[in-house]
């Protein structure tokens, strides 16, 4: 019997290989190879494509420290990442709770659809629709002035809040989905037990619901924080004068001056900083989770 199981599991691995192969091949070809090429580029003085002589250098990495603007921008981007993550929690967690614990059947499906709808639309389309809503004389401005007795002037376009709004809209589904999964898994009888033993709704939330759904919150936060720190499309289009972030200067290096080595070095510094933050935060988060 035991022998049969062993054979079964070995042949299981063998039969699993063809299933795993496409994914690993894809990861190797599409992600690992280009990424290693980028690591290589980041230590070069010139791109070999340009036909000029090149050599190895650390200048691209020291440029980060020698020019004050990169650390400043990195801090600004980290702040942006924190703020967007926070707003995603504020907006997404209650929605996930209602989805998981209050709504049932059809209405749950309908709301769920609304939550993941942003995923189905193109990112640029989403941002440009926000541009129509937020600008002076735009949809928000016109609608509020039609309802309110006093004349107010709303022009959020080309500002920091516009960037936050655009990014939160793009990323809040991640928070809703991850939190929904953990919230749904909480046994309803735990909450009932807490209530019947005299805990208030707030106490139940603080002592039972939030601790048990912490893994979802943490996963959602990590999923949102990392891409937001490197975002460049939303800041560039919605941020206007205030839309310069770490992601946009990396984009400039690749697109505007064709300085791939510096762009690559700046990207890997960002990657390193984000990894350090996640590493430092992980014991705290693990304890919390």
């Amino acid at each position: 019997m035991a022998g049969q199981v062993a054979i079964g599991s070995r042949s299981g691995l063998r039969s699993a290989l063809p299933l795993l192969l496409p994914a690993y091949l894809w990861l190797t070809v599409a992600i690992f190879l280009p990424l290693s090429a980028m690591v290589f580029f980041s230590f070069m003085t010139e791109l070999p494509l340009s036909g000029k002589a090149w050599s190895f250098t650390l200048d691209n990495y020291t440029a980060f420290l020698s020019q004050g603007l990169y650390p400043t921008l990195l801090l600004a981007s980290l702040r942006l990442g924190l703020e967007v993550t926070l707003w995603c929690v504020v907006v997404g967690y209650p929605a996930a709770y209602v989805l998981a614990k209050v709504l049932k059947g059809r209405s749950r499906e309908a709301i769920f659809l609304l939550v993941i709808l942003p995923f189905w639309s193109n990112g640029l389309v989403r941002i440009f629709s926000w541009a129509m809503v937020l600008r002076e004389g735009g949809i928000l401005d016109t609608a509020l002035n039609a309802v309110l007795p006093i004349k107010i002037n709303i022009d959020l376009m080309y500002s920091y809040p516009a960037v936050i709004i655009g990014l939160v809209h793009s990323y809040v589904p991640y928070m809703v989905l991850t939190c929904y999964l953990t919230l749904q898994a909480i046994d309803g009888s735990l909450i009932e037990a807490g209530r019947s033993l005299g805990a208030s709704r707030l106490q139940v939330l603080k002592r039972i619901v939030i601790p048990l759904s912490m893994p979802g919150l943490v996963a959602g936060a990590a999923l949102i924080f990392v891409p937001v720190v490197g975002s460049f499309m939303e800041p560039r289009i919605l941020g206007g004068r205030t839309g310069t972030f770490y992601g946009t200067v990396i984009e400039d290096q690749f697109v505007a001056v064709f300085n791939w080595p510096l762009g690559a070095a700046l990207s890997f510094i960002l990657l390193a900083v984000v990894l350090v933050i996640l590493a430092v935060a992980s014991p705290i988060l693990r304890r919390a989770a």
């Binding site: 603007l69 600004a76 064709f258």
Partner: protein
């Protein structure tokens, strides 16, 4: 059994592709240019193909750097490439383009001598670029915000327009604009600190940094801006094609001028076709139709400009000798300069926050 079948299939495909490539290459003209910039107009291609029997295959780039990379990585693929005169030097030095036999291009004789004689296009007595069109990076205004159009570049700094001024998100353009505002030569900026100070004081005025024609036109259409840097051809297009209240201002302090030219890449397989295509692109018939149907910059061909109506913008305003005196043509910029400009521009944008 399966492997040989696959090999056979692959071989067949390869042979077929090769055959196709050889059959096609004889009379195909591969053109590399900005998208939507004259050479890919379907009506123009139809006329050219009918007249010469060549087939036009368009490819596009989004930046001069991308254009150079495409030439480097695809030797022999392209027959015609559109290069901003400021980049011609670099392309020639890297042996990406070849000398052009202008005797095969009849319309070349009608190009204004100051353009065809440009030292940016002619090297060692050989022609490496045929001037096509030129234009300005000047100012444009929202006509609703002005009773009389301003004449000075200082209008950008006027407190009355605070938060309603735009400038393009491009380091080289911004720095050269600063050079003009501080009365300097755009190709030899001596006092970079003055440029920096001038641009720093402009930042609080700025609403946003535009990057495409569409950005500019949308902001004017929704009356969000008063004034900003703009391209002459785009301002013309906004007014005539999109009927927007936009007019171009060429400030008394001057404006940045650029010249676009056609070159033939080294290793072109259809030089005769390339010459015919370039000749057609600088032909008055094509130009007049391009201006009327779409809107275009100013042709380098004097006969083409003369074929426009008397009051056409490209003839009346851009052809004004007083304008010619105060514009400065962009000269080549080294990679080091470009990176320095970008660093300065990024610093300015960061400090504004």
């Amino acid at each position: 059994m399966r492997m040989p079948a696959l090999t056979a299939l692959l071989t067949a495909t390869a042979v077929f592709t090769f055959a196709l490539a050889f059959a096609a290459e004889a009379d195909e003209v591969h053109v590399l240019n900005w998208k939507g910039y004259g050479a890919d107009e379907p009506w123009a291609i139809a006329v050219f193909e009918k007249a010469t029997g060549n087939k036009v295959v368009n490819d596009f780039f989004n930046s001069e750097q991308e254009m150079l990379t495409k030439l480097r990585t695809n030797p022999g693929l392209y027959d015609v490439v559109m290069i901003n005169a400021a980049f011609n030097d670099q392309a020639m030095a890297e042996k990406l383009i070849q000398p052009i036999d202008v005797s095969k291009i009849p319309n070349y004789a009608d190009i204004s001598p100051d353009k065809s004689g440009s030292p940016m296009l002619d090297h060692d007595g050989k022609v490496y670029g045929v001037p096509w069109v030129w234009g300005l990076t000047a100012l444009a205004i929202n006509e609703k915000s002005f009773d009389t159009p301003p004449t000075s570049i200082t209008e950008m700094w006027n407190e009355a327009h605070k938060g309603r001024v735009v400038i393009r998100d491009d380091a080289v353009e911004a720095i050269q604009f600063g050079a003009i505002a501080t009365g300097q030569n755009i190709n030899d900026i001596k006092d970079m600190d003055a440029v920096k100070a001038k641009l720093t004081s402009l930042m609080p005025q700025i609403k946003t940094f535009w990057s495409s024609e569409n950005d500019w036109n949308q902001m004017v259409a929704s009356n969000q801006i008063d004034i900003g840097t703009y391209w002459s051809g785009s301002a013309d297009r906004a007014k005539t094609h999109f009927k927007l209240p936009v007019s171009l201002v060429i400030p008394q302090e001057g404006a940045v001028a650029w010249l676009d030219a056609f070159s033939i890449p080294a290793g072109s397989k259809n030089v005769a076709g390339a010459q015919a295509f370039i000749n057609y692109m600088i032909d008055p018939t094509f130009y007049v139709e391009w201006v009327t149907k779409v809107g275009a910059p100013v042709s380098a061909n004097t006969k083409a400009v003369a074929a426009l109506p008397e009051d056409a913008f490209n003839r009346k305003v851009m052809g004004d000798p007083a304008v010619a005196k105060r514009i400065q043509f962009q000269a080549p910029i080294t990679d080091a300069q470009r990176e320095k400009y970008l660093a300065l521009w990024q610093e300015l944008k960061v400090n504004v926050k």
